[in-house]
């Protein structure tokens, strides 16, 4: 069995869609949040918004690590990159995220030594090759990516690499879900949990959603069959009046997750008291800092960080999009001054960002201008409106 292509089988997609449609007949209008940006990408890439019954609405969550980073942290990174003898290393998408004074790519064009890496271990290799420079790794990502940074910290200590530090912006998935559930912005009926984060934290990482909020959860893989099967499972839970943490992504996700990775994270990181999330504000215990045992490799310990507090551009509504309160096309600048080529907000930068995915896969036909358009609630409505408009 091929674990990728077999899960793109058109017949499986058709039959699962049929199953969802039948289940949906018994449901009122329900809203399921896909937390992970990878799922958002799958939904738009395969046109699920058009295929799903109209009373099943997918709401996009804060699971894109690039999107949730506040602009102030980008400015801090740019400040670090301009310090003498510093090489700043970062993942690819971070290079394009706009700060107050442009992106890291802009800073590089102005002479800063900023390099793209695919793994923090690559950054450590750069440190070993450049002993007279200070190498900073700009660490972002959820629990999926944090273990690779943690392993690099452990390797830096074991190999006594003194010119390497981590500017830690790793975040954890539970607290923002809690923040969304505690806010009145969106009334949700269930969650599609992120597949790869779950390989680390396990199914048990979502039990609080059941215990405290009484909402069903299904962990899903990223292929079309995976995601549709998860939506079917969620719809069936709602129809049956059940509320459980179910696992669709059984090929990699277990109940307890990866204990070795969890121990490593506990050794190398400590939860911050609070951390700012774009669109969600400050959320307690929602991000990691480098632990005291590894303070020597903590950028915030070695360099003075300005700690810029920067408001998002007024026109940009990434915050509402990240909370699921707005659809991408409802943002005032979407597709106009904010495009993947010239992003204003972070949601337009990474392909995991809801705005970029929505824009890239051609479901954008125009921002609403009339009362009818403003009432349109999903992509299908928008497409119908666009068709009507073009015929007119």
């Amino acid at each position: 069995m091929n674990l990728t292509t077999d899960f793109r089988d058109p017949e499986a997609v058709r039959t699962i869609l049929q199953r969802i449609s039948h289940t949906a007949e018994a449901l009122p209008h329900v809203k399921f949040m896909e937390i992970c940006g990878g799922h958002t990408h799958t939904i738009y890439r395969h046109g699920f918004e058009q295929l799903l019954p109209k009373n099943i609405e997918m709401v996009h969550g804060p699971g894109c690590p690039v999107c949730v980073l506040p602009m102030g942290r980008m400015d801090d990174a740019q400040h670090l990159a301009t310090q003498p003898d510093v090489i700043l290393t970062a993942f690819g998408d971070m290079m394009r995220v706009p700060g107050s004074h442009g992106s890291l790519l802009d800073s590089r064009a102005q002479g800063a030594d900023i390099r793209m890496v695919y793994s923090p271990l690559d950054a450590l290799a750069i440190a070993k090759a450049n002993p007279n420079k200070e190498i900073i790794f700009f660490a972002v990502g959820f629990e999926t990516t944090a273990p690779s940074t943690a392993l690099t910290l452990r390797a830096a200590r074991a190999q006594n690499v003194k010119n390497f530090t981590v500017f830690c912006n790793h975040v954890v998935v539970g607290p923002p879900i809690r923040a969304i559930l505690e806010s009145d912005d969106v009334q949700l009926n269930g969650f599609v949990a992120p597949g790869h984060v779950s390989t680390i934290i396990g199914q048990e990482g979502y039990q609080f959603i059941i215990d405290e909020f009484n909402k069903p959860v299904v962990t899903a893989g990223f292929e079309p069959v995976d995601l549709l099967a998860a939506i079917a499972m969620l719809a069936e839970q709602v129809a049956d009046g059940r509320c459980e943490v179910e696992n669709q992504y059984t090929r990699v996700v277990t109940q307890t997750g990866n204990r070795q990775a969890q121990d490593l994270l506990a050794e190398t990181f400590t939860l911050r008291d609070t951390f700012e999330w774009r669109g969600l504000g400050h959320i307690p215990q929602s991000a990691y800092r480098v632990s005291d045992d590894y303070a020597e490799w903590d950028t915030e310990n070695r360099f003075a960080i300005p700690g810029f507090l920067v408001e998002d551009p007024k026109a940009c509504q990434c915050g509402e999009v990240l909370r699921g309160a707005l659809k991408p096309w409802e943002c005032k600048v979407f597709g106009k001054s904010c495009t993947p080529e010239h992003p204003i907000g972070t949601c337009m930068v990474s392909s995991e960002g809801a705005c970029a995915a929505y824009y890239t896969f051609g479901q954008y036909r125009g921002t609403p201008t009339s009362a009818t358009e403003a009432k349109a609630t999903n992509a299908t409505d928008i497409r119908e409106l666009a068709t009507t408009k073009s015929k007119a």
Binding site: H22, M94, T145, S350
Partner: protein, 137 residues
Amino acid sequence: MTSSCPTCADEATAVTLQHFSTDPMRQNLAQGVDDAGNLFSCDVSLLEAPKLGDVVLVHAGVALAFCNEQSVEEPAQLIQRSRNATQQHERNTDQQHERNATQRQPTAPIRNTATQSNHYTNEPPSNDHNQQPEDET
């Protein structure tokens, strides 16, 4: 899956392990290939006893989990389960339609018989079958 940075995009790749490093300084390093035959190097120190031939999920140069094919509900099984669910739903719907149709059948006109209850006074029906109707007397 995406055109952007695979690390930011939370992508992970299923890689079949083919070789472990013999360098004592890199004893946790392994190499393998994905489905398309692309070569990958990854750190396997977060996995318990990985072996050659194991399929592991790699993200940002680190193997995060084993891919367990035995636990997978194959698409063929998913199709069958979905069809079963659909057929069950259709049976339920048909039964519901039949019940509704039965309930909607027109009732027989009320006849003034002894066994007929009095719909207006809600009195129980009389069991006196020999009682003659008054208008016939």
